[in-house]
């Protein structure tokens, strides 16, 4: 049997005596497109942050390619399992600064043509490179944040309600890009969403209720 790319083993998180997640058992295969749903406050975002190693569990373990994520160097792991926030808060002054950052941290030269191509894939022109981040709409910021995560293709893309604050047009543009990444590039997707259209796109749906999995 093929080893799951991600596997949660009795994963739990308690903060100041309060149980946020309890005994999460979950197995995700490579190339799967999974949506995670559930009422707000049920622990969906927390689960994604645990998977991204942005926080650590208080019990259980999270495996990546069969090994505990604690055995990976955190920066190397996060380049492979990339987490995209609910509200994109672009940093620095310009869009270029944001798109050059993935190159900077890999000590590589910024590939402008690749950045322009990526902007095009989410319906934004090359002019956006020089735009100030403060002049962008929420939808534009979110699209730029998404390509910032995938300029170097990750193995797994973790999406935390990335379309919840967006209008139909922006939602469509982002949805299309995500489907393409999954179908054409084989990127495994874990997507926290409430949108029924987005849920039906997925080939698997997981419900988190009161910190536990209901599949």
């Amino acid at each position: 049997m093929e080893t799951a790319i991600l596997q949660a083993q009795k994963l739990g998180l308690e903060i100041e005596g309060k149980t946020i997640l309890k005994d999460i058992d979950l197995s995700i295969s490579k190339g799967e497109f999974v949506t995670i749903t559930g009422p707000s406050g049920s622990g969906k975002s927390t689960l994604l942050q645990l998977v991204a190693s942005m926080i650590s569990p208080t019990s259980g373990d999270m495996l990546y390619k069969g090994k505990s994520i604690n055995t990976y160097e955190p920066t190397a792991y996060r380049k492979e399992v990339s987490y995209c926030f609910q509200t994109a808060n672009l940093f620095g002054e310009t869009v270029t600064e944001n798109l050059a950052f993935p190159y900077e941290i890999r000590k590589e030269t910024f590939d402008k043509d690749r950045a322009i191509e990526a902007l095009g894939s989410v319906g934004l022109s090359a002019d956006y490179l020089d735009k100030k981040v403060t002049s962008l709409s929420g939808g534009e910021k979110q699209r730029i944040a998404l390509i910032r995560n995938v300029l170097f293709l990750p193995e797994v893309l973790l999406l935390d309600e990335v379309t919840s604050a967006l209008d139909a047009e922006n939602r469509k543009a982002i949805g299309k890009t995500i489907r393409k990444l999954n179908k054409e590039k084989g990127v495994t997707i874990l997507w926290v969403t409430h949108n029924t259209e987005e849920i039906t796109e997925a080939n698997r749906k997981i419900d988190i209720v009161d910190g536990q999995v209901k599949e």
């Binding site: 942005m54 920066t75 995209c84 509200t87 940093f91 950052f101 941290i105």
Partner: protein, 253 residues
């Protein structure tokens, strides 16, 4: 001729100035009366003690005693700087290294360039000036770092999520901390002579030194303070930012 002697009577009469401050406090109901009184008493006691101590050290002119005084100043400065470092781990150790290295390098440059002589009456006051400026600058740096890690929390998290290392995620914050810590020194250097006549230069002129000779010392002091604040806050900032993260390179809440 300059009369540098302040008699006990003059000293007591000048305490009228404290009474004025206490009257302001009483009239405006500031609630600072106790603090003003304690501050004034402390200042008198501390200065008298240090005055007699320095007079003894200057007369003794002993290298070990001078070095002990230098270390005492550096320790005190580090202790006070560390108080501003809410939540930063090992703040005393970091402050001690930053102030210690900054002070010793500045002293060494001044010593080698011939601007400073190895005599307690020069070494001790200069160390005090350097260390107190480094202490204030490091404190400002800590405060900036604390507030930036709160305000820019989301940006730091996004950088980490993209696979950045903790230093790559904190570059902008470290830079801002050093800048804000150095800004007062740079501003002071720009306006020196226009806004204020600095303490050292005033002191020398008070003691009858020709203003053109006094400015030479002041120029050296200004350069020395810019270098020390920059160097010390660079060390403290690069050592302090790490305490905002754990060993899994996660940003602590």
């Amino acid at each position: 001729m300059n009369n540098l002697e302040i008699t006990n009577t003059s000293l007591i009469l000048s305490s009228v100035l404290i009474i004025i401050a206490l009257i302001v406090d009483y009239k405006e109901q500031l609630g600072l009366g106790k603090d003003i009184f304690i501050a004034a008493v402390r200042a008198v006691v501390q200065l008298f003690v240090i005055g007699y101590l320095l007079s003894y050290i200057f007369k003794l002119d002993n290298t070990i005693v001078t070095l002990a005084m230098v270390l005492f100043i550096i320790f005190n400065a580090a202790y006070n700087a560390a108080k501003r470092a809410e939540g930063i781990q090992h703040a005393f150790r970091i402050s001690l290294i930053a102030i210690g290295v900054g002070t010793l390098i500045s002293l060494a440059v001044l010593f080698v360039s011939g601007a400073l002589m190895w005599t307690p009456s020069q070494i001790v006051p200069i160390t005090g000036m350097i260390a107190s400026n480094a202490m204030t600058a490091i404190g400002v740096g800590y405060r900036t770092m604390n507030s930036k890690f709160k305000d820019q929390r989301q940006q730091v998290l996004e950088r980490l999520a993209l696979g950045a290392d903790v230093n790559q995620a904190s570059t902008a914050i470290i830079r801002d901390s050093i800048k804000s810590a150095m800004a007062p020194s740079v501003d002071r250097t720009k306006t020196v002579g226009l806004v204020s006549l600095p303490g050292m230069m005033s002191g020398l002129m008070f003691a009858g030194v020709d203003p053109t000779a006094a400015i030479r010392y002041q120029i050296v002091v200004m350069f020395m303070l810019i270098a020390t604040t920059g160097f010390s806050t660079m060390i403290s900032s690069y050592m302090a930012y790490k305490s905002y993260f754990n060993n899994r390179k996660q940003l602590l809440s």
